[in-house]
Symmetry: C2
């Protein structure tokens, strides 16, 4: 793992992946076909891309039953405990509608209303994670969303991974459709005979899924364009190299493009971590992926001071930040950009991926500068409420009319004045 001395501030803001012109056009064509031909197009593309012919897109009860047979009782209990923790955390994010009243009769407020219907994209293959089902569905339920739809590309046997089905069923999700790719996003946005459209689409996917989400954005809402995952560990000389290395590798095993970075003022620690990464890498089942990730996107930045290390962290704006320092809590206030912050040596990042409660859907690729992890907020909308009394309008009407006229909007001014004719 390469070690680099950093003195000034780093500027590592990466560029977003917008796909090739060819990919964009392919996605536009798929969306067009789904809008025109509905289910027929979905099944056609499923044959083409997933190499399986489906009678029904909807997951059946017998598929759910079969999935349960693959999951141990112990694992089911863990899933349930994780779900309870996630629900507990997200309940705390929930906000109430509020109102404020004035003596002149004015009422102002904000009404919180859940979305009617949301769709969750669950990627296929090795990236089909039951934990993602928990992390996306539970905040929707806490928010009060009534209709929750899951779409995911079927495997060659024409079904979905057992863990995904069990997690969805545990949460009471009824609509699970075996369709993936841009065609699934098109179906969620525009609807087909089988799949009614939703209002917002969540979940990560490959470049085609990302481009399709970008394409339908506006017709429906989307959560974010997820990029490869990243971890930054901010450590001082008190941290343990073996633990840091293990955490860096847990990120690296996700994806060759995942990024694992240590920032520390300690050259001694830097060298130890580099050695530990090499050592632990050897026995990993996903060694090839992790090694490629570390080689290409891994880095150890050594700064002169802890202050400088913090500045580097803020430049990186990591998805996951671990602070392994003697007083991690004392540094919290200086962290301006991070999706999730893990404090101290027992807060290994996987704790947050599965179990602790906060969401693991987090802003990647430096977007923690301006965006947040998934939360209940993304499943509600706010409507402002304005009630003016006769007295209030009498007192302020002339000012409102004057402001409207400043902007050249005479009909706005007259609308107010019409009340007192």
């Amino acid at each position: 793992m390469k070690i680099e001395r950093v003195t000034g501030r780093l500027s590592l803001r990466r560029t977003i992946e917008t796909g090739t012109e060819e990919q964009r056009r392919a996605v536009q064509n798929i969306i067009h076909d789904v809008r025109t031909h509905g289910d027929t197009a979905l099944k056609m593309y499923t044959e083409k891309f997933d190499q399986v012919t489906l009678d029904s897109l909807l997951v059946s009860e017998s598929e759910i039953e079969a999935a349960y047979k693959e999951i141990s009782a112990e694992m089911l209990a863990i899933l349930r405990e994780a779900a309870a923790n996630i629900r507990d955390y997200h309940e705390r994010q929930k906000r109430e509608s509020w109102m404020t009243t004035k003596e002149d009769g004015t009422i102002l407020g904000q009404k919180i209303t859940p979305l009617d219907a949301v769709g969750l994209y669950v990627p296929g293959g090795t990236a089909a994670y039951p934990s993602s089902v928990l992390m996306n569905v539970i905040p929707a339920q806490v928010a009060g969303v009534k209709r929750i739809v899951i779409v995911s590309p079927p495997n060659k046997q024409g079904t979905l991974p057992a863990g995904v089905l069990v997690a969805a069923h545990e949460l009471g999700v009824k609509e699970i459709y075996k369709v993936g790719g841009a065609q699934a996003i098109a179906a969620l946005a525009y609807g087909t005979e089988t799949i009614q459209p939703v209002d917002k689409i969540f979940g990560p996917g490959n470049i085609y899924v990302a481009l399709a989400k970008r394409e339908v954005f506006g017709q429906v809402a989307i959560d974010m364009i997820a990029g490869p995952s990243e971890i930054v560990v901010l450590a001082d000389e008190t941290a343990k190299a073996n633990e840091i290395a293990a955490d860096l590798l847990s990120q690296a095993e996700h994806d060759e493009r995942a990024s694992s970075i240590l920032v520390t003022p300690s050259m001694k620690l830097a060298i130890e971590v580099a050695n530990e990464v090499q050592k632990q890498l050897e026995t990993l089942p996903r060694k090839a992926i992790a090694a490629a990730s570390i080689a290409q996107y891994g880095a150890i930045y050594v700064t002169d001071t802890l202050e400088e290390a913090i500045a580097v962290v803020n430049e990186l704006a990591p998805e996951h930040l671990e602070i392994m320092a003697s007083e991690p809590m004392h540094l919290l206030g200086q962290i301006r950009h991070a999706g999730a912050i893990f404090l101290g040596r027992f807060s290994s990042e996987p704790v947050g991926d599965y179990f602790a409660g906060p969401n693991h859907v987090l802003p990647t690729n430096g977007t923690a500068r301006f965006s947040s992890g998934l939360s209940v907020d993304e499943f509600v909308k706010k409507s402002s409420i304005i009630l003016y009394s006769e007295q209030a309008l009498q007192e302020h009407g002339a000012k409102i009319a004057a402001f409207a006229r400043l902007e050249g909007l005479e009909a706005h001014a007259r609308a107010v004045e019409e009340r007192f004719k």
Copy 2:
């Protein structure tokens, strides 16, 4: 104004404007040029599109002084009172970071951090509204954003409207740049010699601005793709036709594509409103725009019952909803989709545009189904906080490792186990 009897539910979800292939390419070229040539490209495009040659992009102090001379003392006082109301409302939206602790030492929480830098696009020409400056800048300031940048296309005299400059200066905004169009969006997203990049871009604009925002989305965050404005009035037979007509016209004068709709179970009211609209239209300075808007996008829907009228309103998911009924508050709970809700006859929509306090930047084009008006929330991000104690990890570590292994992520499991080696 056309009157239509509606019996079933309406489905009026409109399609988003995604521009022509030619417009998309033009925008991509402009962005590329700004990224490559910086200020030179900005000035070149300003000459091309705004027909003015600028020495400096930054608005000077003497321009601000000149602007103040154009605004009356009375108008300045109104601006200040409006700003105070807007600030007061948005202060109530502000959220605090929170934490929860468990007896095993676990701390979970959510840290709220303001964005570092935001950019506000203020459209040019007749759509350059000082009220938009207030509505975008104040929530940013309440959130604690330190750097706020305004961009707006210069007029032929090479400056900006007095109202915009005074509003910006009143709020203490220092960086105001005379640049508009896709080139301004590119500058905000990628930066030039003069304009440092921001993290999120707010504000409406023409199709080129909208396409540019869509294009840079991911590199920076964007607020929303704004469409033409709309109002829906939900009224029963107790409402006054002249007031409804005036409010419909206040929307219609904005834009030929603006949409003004009355939904009522009263045919008598429907006919009266249609007549009133015709009458009031005659004397409006922006008669041509309002008439075109009413003819193309105006409608009066008559339902059998008030319940049905409410269902139609929810289908329309209007940006602005006025409820003019005998008991407007009683209907509030049934409104599922609306950007802002104005209750009773003295809550004319312009009250919210300028003065009451809630934001006037609202979801248009039916997007109130899934999105909200601008609020303090859009200027902060949330970081989740996880601190696990040794005791907590000892108790739950094996479960976390088991979950990781279910997902085939061995390095995740080992990261947890590494703590207890």
